[in-house]
């Protein structure tokens, strides 16, 4: 703690370099944004059609549902944008050595890289949301209560931390196996479904929904959005907070355990 400013400097430069690196691959990035927008548009028009002849579906009004869908692009930026999955590759190619050999915390290093990733994605998602709202004029819910807004931001940060941990844990597979892409790919699909990036989770049958709330994924996307919408009881928020905190601490412990064990097996091979 003796040199907070110094440490910040370290991570700022890492974030700045990552950002600069991004501009080398502008086209890749733009195409990625296009993909995000298209998937949002598909969901958007699908729900708009469903709401054409009724005012409520699964207990959601049209405004609530469309707000949920549009805010997904922001969630993609804040929570789901990460380059943490590259860590598996870095382990396998021995690039991890470059960081291990230096007096810098590897998790901090990776998180700083993610910050720039998130920053640029958030920047674009905000522009996209404004464009979508201007072009499509959807009925939207604008949360004005400071209480829900600040809780929303708090849970966004928690969700980002949770996703970072999950991503790092999956990347640890790299210490034991060269085949890391398969498990990661399955995980992406699982997350897309279980976190609520296609639809709000409470339209699922009650027993399934109940079970999902015990898993960490719910808290990545669905839970924060639900808080933004404000259609959630205090009791439910408290329960969610406890479950989420439990997962963040447990996964942090698991991650550190795996990391320590992994490093002992690390052969720094490759290239």
């Amino acid at each position: 703690m003796f040199s907070v400013k110094r440490n910040m400097g370290k991570y700022l430069v890492i974030a700045k370099n990552s950002l600069q690196e991004y501009f080398t691959y502008r086209l890749n990035f733009i195409l990625w944004r296009v993909r995000v927008v298209i998937s949002i548009l598909i969901s958007f028009f699908l729900w708009q059609t469903i709401f054409r002849d009724r005012s409520q579906v699964f207990g959601y009004s049209q405004a609530q549902m469309l707000t949920y869908i549009i805010l997904l692009t922001l969630m993609n930026g804040v929570v789901l944008s990460t380059r943490v999955f590259r860590v598996a590759e870095e382990i396998n190619l021995g690039k991890l050595s470059n960081i291990l050999i230096r007096p810098v915390n590897y998790f901090g290093y990776t998180f700083a890289r993610d910050i720039s990733d998130k920053g640029i994605n958030i920047f674009f998602s905000v522009i996209e949301i404004m464009l979508l709202v201007l072009l499509l004029h959807p009925p939207l819910i604008v949360q004005t209560q400071i209480f829900f807004l600040s809780l929303f931001i708090f849970f966004l940060i928690m969700a980002a931390i949770l996703y970072f941990e999950i991503g790092m844990i999956l990347s640890c597979i790299g210490f034991w196996s060269r085949e890391t892409w398969g498990p990661q790919f399955i995980f992406f699909i699982l997350v897309a479904f279980l976190a609520g990036t296609y639809f709000p989770l409470d339209i699922l049958p009650y027993p399934v929904y109940n079970l999902l709330q015990l898993l960490p994924f719910t808290y990545l996307v669905y839970f924060p959005l639900k808080i933004y919408l404000g259609t959630i009881s205090y009791q439910y928020i408290l329960r969610g907070f406890l479950i989420l905190t439990f997962w963040i601490f447990t996964l942090w412990w698991v991650l550190n355990l795996l990391w320590r064990k992994g490093l002992k097996l690390y052969t720094s091979e490759g290239q």
Binding site: R6, I101, R102, Y266, Q271
Partner: protein, 303 residues
């Protein structure tokens, strides 16, 4: 704290219960056949690998613990690996290292100016790394690794893949750096020229064991107590049996003959050849270091 680091001798224990002590400022060559454990040893010493058994100590630290105080005093450069941010100018990596190693701005500018001056790369600092040639990149790698003035520098094949001119430049730089900053350098290489020019002391390892540790000159005396006489004759019709009596023939492709003769008799034999045979040209040389090393491994008279 300081006094711990400025000790004269650094005890370094390596794999397979081999241990060696290296003095501050020494430049030691580490050679051995492929797979002997050179790179593994360097990785263990720099804390990348966890030793499955036994322990390693480098100036009092256990490398694998990767204590900040330890990492700040070492550096590892691997000729086959890239430590720089590939898509960015090398300067960005340097800036990051400045922050990571907590180097003062003034010291950073000074070291950077010195190093880039020595390596003649001042005008390449803002070029993206991917556009640099292998040689230029290697120079940048060296700068990146030396900005924090490490006490101990591990160099794994620093000249691999470089052309002869660039090899020489990198070599000269390493020698100069070692002289100016008296930092301890442990170097592995396949190119004997590197070792010959740079290292007075040599450690040869094979199968994770030290088979020789000592002065470069002693090695030559011990394992290669002979000199090479290369003679170019004026004519091709010479009696091979007669030539064989002069000394042991290593190579014969008339009019060229290569003899291996005991050091003590080298001059007298040369004189005899010049007197009795039609000589166009004659050369007396030390045996090639490659050959000496080969002898070390073939004789297996370790120790």
């Amino acid at each position: 704290m300081r006094s711990i680091f400025i000790r004269k001798t650094q005890e370094i224990k390596a794999v397979d219960d081999i241990s060696f002590a290296i003095d501050q400022g020494e430049l030691v060559g580490f050679i051995g056949p492929n797979g002997a454990g050179k790179t593994t040893t360097l990785k263990c010493l720099s804390g990348l690998l966890y030793p499955s058994t036994g322990s390693i100590k480098v100036f009092g630290f256990t490398p694998f613990e990767r204590k900040k105080e330890f990492l700040k005093q070492i550096s590892l450069v691997m000729g086959q690996k890239n430590q720089l941010w590939w898509d960015l100018p090398a300067m960005e990596t340097f800036r990051l290292n400045k922050e990571i190693y907590e180097i003062e701005e003034k010291a950073f500018q000074k070291t950077l100016a010195e190093l880039s001056g020595l390596l003649e790369i001042e005008n390449l600092l803002t070029v993206p790394v991917r556009q640099l040639s292998l040689g230029q990149r290697m120079k940048m790698e060296l700068v990146a690794a030396l900005l924090h003035r490490p006490k101990v520098l591990f160099l794994d094949e620093p000249t691999i893949g470089l052309d002869v001119v660039m090899q020489k430049k990198v070599r000269d730089f390493i020698a100069e750096y070692n002289r100016q900053y008296s930092s301890t350098i442990l170097l592995t290489s396949h190119y004997m020229a590197d070792v010959k020019q740079l290292c007075r002391r040599l450690i040869i390892i094979d199968h994770g064991r030290i088979v020789y540790d000592g002065d470069f000159k002693n090695l030559v005396m011990k394992y290669a107590n002979f000199k090479i006489i290369t003679v170019l004759f004026k004519e091709r019709n010479l009696d091979k049996d007669k030539l064989a009596k002069i000394g042991q023939i290593k190579e014969i492709d008339l009019p060229k003959v290569v003899f291996a003769v005991p050091v003590a008799q080298a001059t007298s034999i040369a004189a005899r050849i010049l007197q009795n045979l039609p000589v166009e040209d004659l050369n007396i040389e030390e045996p090639e270091i490659e050959e000496v090393i080969r002898l070390v491994f073939s004789k297996k008279k370790y120790g």
